[in-house]
Point group: C2
Chain length 129, copies 2
DNA sequence: TGACGATTTGACGAACTCATCATATCAATA
DNA sequence: TATTGATATGATGAGTTCGTCAAATCGTCA
């Protein structure tokens, strides 16, 4: 695992990191972990209203991607971010999304103002999809 | 698109953002875009040694996720990050990975020092795959 | 207008991820 | 030791992404 990873270029490792983040439930988990030193599985279940095995599958993905660390104390298991920079990453994403959502709202506004068939320029969202 | 997105919780939007980042080629593209104001497709092709249609498929994903914006000038198309915070996000990921890779290296070192069957603790990578 | 360079899109099989249910495992306790 | 609460794992079908090749589109120029 860590051995195989030593041979990978950084962009592959980075992409792999983002794969671990690429699911709504996992984002919710990590947001909880960003707001507290550690969180128990039971707390997550209550907070998120998921079925235990569904949550556990996602926690397993996070463990596999080495984004979280787990610790069993009695019959309870606690999770935490594996790095202090985890919450920073989510915050950086929030900033980027702030821009995206803002420009998206601006475009919606423009679309409401414009005549039916607008500009021919390729740029931005218009080109997408 | 943007209409549908307005109804989504932020964690879903965030996860979708990370989906757009979850491929090595797309990371490489975005790293190039982080290092220059804009980059043409031709430059990317040269830099990355990909086939044109392969690159284009990935650029299409980035456009669909609204992470990049494109502009055609003559027969050349130029791409840029759609937000100044894009590069920051990649930098934040680099910090997180720095921690992960460091703790990974430390574990490799410990593994080399430890006897065959080590601790029973669930924590960290040992619990992962 | 046809040819050509640059880029995008379409299509399809393979691989991977996700959702969900059943089962197994772990720890505590009577 | 069996039971129970807490959590993890296994299995499987559906959905999505990826890799790759073929074809289409766009802009320029003779």
């Amino acid at each position: 695992m860590a051995l195989a990873e030593a041979d990978q270029p950084l962009y592959e490792i980075k992409a792999n990191l983002f794969k671990g983040l690429a699911h709504p439930v996992r984002i919710r988990i990590l947001e909880l972990l960003s707001a507290a030193p550690e969180v128990s599985v039971a707390e997550m279940l209550t907070d998120m209203g998921l079925e235990a095995s569904h949550l556990s599958q996602h926690l397993s993905v996070l463990r596999r991607h080495r984004l979280v660390t787990s610790e069993r104390r009695g019959s309870h298991v606690y999770y935490r971010w594996v790095s202090v920079h985890g919450a920073e990453l989510l915050a950086a994403a929030r900033l980027l999304l702030g821009d995206l959502l803002q420009s998206s709202a601006e475009q919606l506004q423009q679309a409401a103002t414009l005549p039916p068939m607008g500009t021919s320029d390729v740029s931005t969202v218009a080109g997408g999809r």
